[in-house]
């Protein structure tokens, strides 16, 4: 009889625990990933997939993973996410900004599944978390390098779409470049694509034709690096270490390291201490790393390393006042630092950047 009550109590506890959702331990987690590009893009989606592989490696048979690649942002995304939710995924990572509304919509219909949306800011349901990395910290360091190395004082910047993530990167790069060279200009070309090697190469060529002697990119392929190598100028890699594509060209690259975050979240789910969160990590937590500083003098390298160190230790924040917006209005007062809200919703150029931001 005593045994029975223990059993009853245990099962009651289990029911209670599973009703509580977040606190239930799990024996095995099925983690699913949705990528905007092909896993073989050697950029954004490739790095997310590296993170997925790290999860498999570290958590072994406690985890099963699945992914869908090249899922277009928009209506298709909602179908893909829902398919995963129905197929028994416990946690779904949707790894592109444009999946934001689709993720929240599906999350509302599947309250037992955890959703993790990268680079977004909407958490409309308890089961939606968001995560992002402070890539702009790396872009500031790039700016510090480029500002010193440019001879034409024109740096070519290949941008994808005018979303806050990209705009923040351009601003941070510019602020970094200005900190060492007040004459430097950043020439932005919008490719209107995340991934089209041919078009990215064309954008790089256009920028070089118009006088840029350093290229940086916020698109996902290695094509701009190759064009820079061919034309004999310098460039920054994106998302992965692209040194193979420009051994004498790459200055450094911002490396997205998603693995630690993915492992942490899935582990939390296994251990029963998973909670909704909004994560935004950078240099300090190791989510953003810089590839080795190459093809530059030791002085420039030292400056870059110092900037990286100062940002890591929080001594330096790229977005610190006094800073004005392009339209002349005040953004940050002397000594003021931008808060996360202002950074995450950034939809303006800072003062000094030429050209208009498309809307």
């Amino acid at each position: 009889m005593k045994r029975l009550t223990t059993l009853l109590a245990a099962s009651a506890a289990m029911v209670f625990a599973s009703a509580g959702g977040a606190s239930a331990q799990m024996d095995k987690v099925k983690a699913c990933f949705i990528y905007v590009g092909p896993v073989g893009d050697f950029g954004w989606s490739y790095q997310h997939d590296q993170g997925r592989k790290q999860v498999e490696e570290e958590l072994g048979d406690k985890v099963e993973t699945a992914f869908l690649e090249s899922v277009p942002e928009g209506a298709d995304a909602e179908r893909a996410i829902e398919r995963f939710a129905r197929s028994g995924c416990n946690i779904i990572f949707t790894t592109s900004f444009g999946y934001m509304d689709a993720t929240n919509a599906v999350a509302g219909r599947f309250p037992d599944v955890k959703f993790e949306h990268a680079t977004g800011y909407k958490r409309e349901h308890d089961n939606v978390s968001t995560y992002n990395s402070k890539f702009y910290e790396g872009r500031y360091v790039q700016g510090v390098i480029a500002g010193q190395l440019t001879e034409s004082n024109t740096i070519g910047y290949i941008a994808s779409f005018p979303i806050p993530e990209v705009v923040r990167g351009i601003n941070s790069f510019y602020i970094g470049a200005q900190s060492v060279n007040p004459d430097v200009k950043v020439n932005v070309v919008w490719a209107n694509t995340w991934f089209d090697p041919g078009k990215e190469a064309d954008a790089a060529k256009a920028l070089i034709d118009q006088g840029a002697d350093i290229i940086t990119q916020h698109t996902d392929s290695t094509a701009p690096m190759q064009v820079a190598a061919e034309r004999g100028i310098k460039a920054f890699g994106q998302a992965s270490d692209m040194i193979n594509f420009g051994p004498e060209t790459q200055l450094t690259s911002i490396i997205d390291d998603w693995g630690p975050y993915y492992v942490e979240r899935i582990k939390a789910l296994l251990d029963g201490n998973y909670e909704q969160s909004d994560t935004w990590h950078g240099f300090a937590e190791g989510n953003v790393r810089m590839a080795p500083y190459t093809n530059m003098s030791d002085d420039v390298k030292a400056d870059a390393e110092e900037a990286e160190k100062k940002i890591t230790s929080d001594e330096l924040e790229p977005f610190s006042g006094p800073l004005k917006k392009k339209d002349g209005s005040d953004f940050l007062a002397e000594g003021e630092r931008a808060d996360d809200g202002a950074l995450l919703g950034m939809n303006f150029y800072v003062e000094g950047i030429e050209g208009d931001l498309p809307n």
């Binding site: 092909p38 893009d41 041919g198 078009k199 256009a206 034709d209 118009q210 193979n244």
Partner: protein, 308 residues
């Protein structure tokens, strides 16, 4: 600067032209192959892989031509011998090609490939070959007897069959030619345009090539014009974005205001211009019934089963 821009335009136009001229021949024979994107992807991965293995971009390109042709024969077998639906089979071929190429190419990701460099006037051998190909195709289709048979098969396979023309055999050949050209177009991407392999690097160019064939109303020379127009708009809008206002102010009188006006147009709109142009042309073509009837292969997309 102008020379560099022209080379960029030619480079952007060549893969579109190659894929489109092949599809044109296929469609002239009455076969609508929507698998261009997939065949290009197969060509791209083959060109890259074989180029890397042999160290010769030329051998890579030749291998891509063969693989493109062989891959298209799968489509030909399904649609011509088994008389399956051409639209559905073509779409399947695209999906298959993108998937298989991604699988084959997994090991190539992150590796720089071999480059086919310029040989004359800053342009590569495949570009020059594509011009020769244009002349040959135009001459073949409109000035030779076999060319006439190809068009006859596309316009009325029943009549052609009644006259003893081997409809199925000619269609096989036309589809294989289309596949070979698409394969070469893909190799152009992975050997000349951006000498690397990344999955889905065709990025929709196969679909643009398909649109170009209609844009050109099935005339070879117009395919070249269309490809150059596409290339010029794509490159032009990037160049204008990159131009500083002072550069633009330095242009001669009418040009400075035109370029200045274009610079103020949102880049999203300029990016979509090639597609808008296609839509406009399609509307114009369909409005002119005579023009549409003269050039559209009448049997386009229709299966032919001889003993029925």
């Amino acid at each position: 600067m102008l020379e560099a821009i022209l080379i960029s335009i030619a480079t952007a136009a060549t893969p579109l032209f190659l894929a489109a001229i092949g599809e044109l021949v296929s469609e002239r024979a009455g076969v609508l192959n929507l698998g261009v994107e997939g065949m290009m992807a197969m060509g791209a991965v083959t060109g890259f892989g074989i180029g890397l293995a042999t160290g010769s971009p030329l051998i890579g390109a030749l291998a891509a031509v063969i693989v493109g042709a062989v891959f298209s024969l799968l489509f030909a077998f399904l649609t011509l011998t088994l008389a399956s639906n051409q639209v559905a089979t073509g779409l399947a071929l695209t999906l298959l090609g993108l998937g298989v190429s991604g699988q084959i190419g997994e090991a190539y990701v992150g590796q720089p490939g071999v480059r086919m460099g310029p040989v004359f006037l800053g342009l590569d051998p495949i570009f020059w070959f594509s011009l020769v190909l244009l002349v040959v195709v135009a001459w073949f289709l409109f000035h030779t007897k076999p060319g006439l048979k190809v068009r006859a098969v596309g316009d009325s396979h029943v009549s052609a069959h009644a006259l003893g023309v081997p409809v199925i055999a000619i269609r096989y050949a036309a589809v294989a030619f289309g596949g070979a050209c698409a394969g070469l177009a893909g190799a152009y991407l992975s050997l000349v345009y951006t000498p690397q392999w990344v999955e889905a690097m065709t990025a929709g160019r196969g679909w643009i090539a398909l649109a170009l064939v209609v844009f050109a109303s099935w005339r070879p020379v117009r395919v070249l014009v269309g490809a150059w127009l596409f290339g010029a708009i794509t490159i032009g809008q990037l160049q204008i974005q990159a131009m500083s206002l002072s550069t633009i102010a330095g242009f001669a009188a009418p040009l400075d205001s035109i370029v200045g006006a274009l610079k103020s147009v949102p880049s999203q709109f300029l990016s979509s211009l090639p597609y808008l142009a296609t839509v406009v042309v399609l509307v114009l073509i369909s409005r002119n019934r005579r023009l549409a009837l003269v050039n559209t292969p009448a049997c386009l997309g229709q299966p032919f089963v001889p003993d029925r």
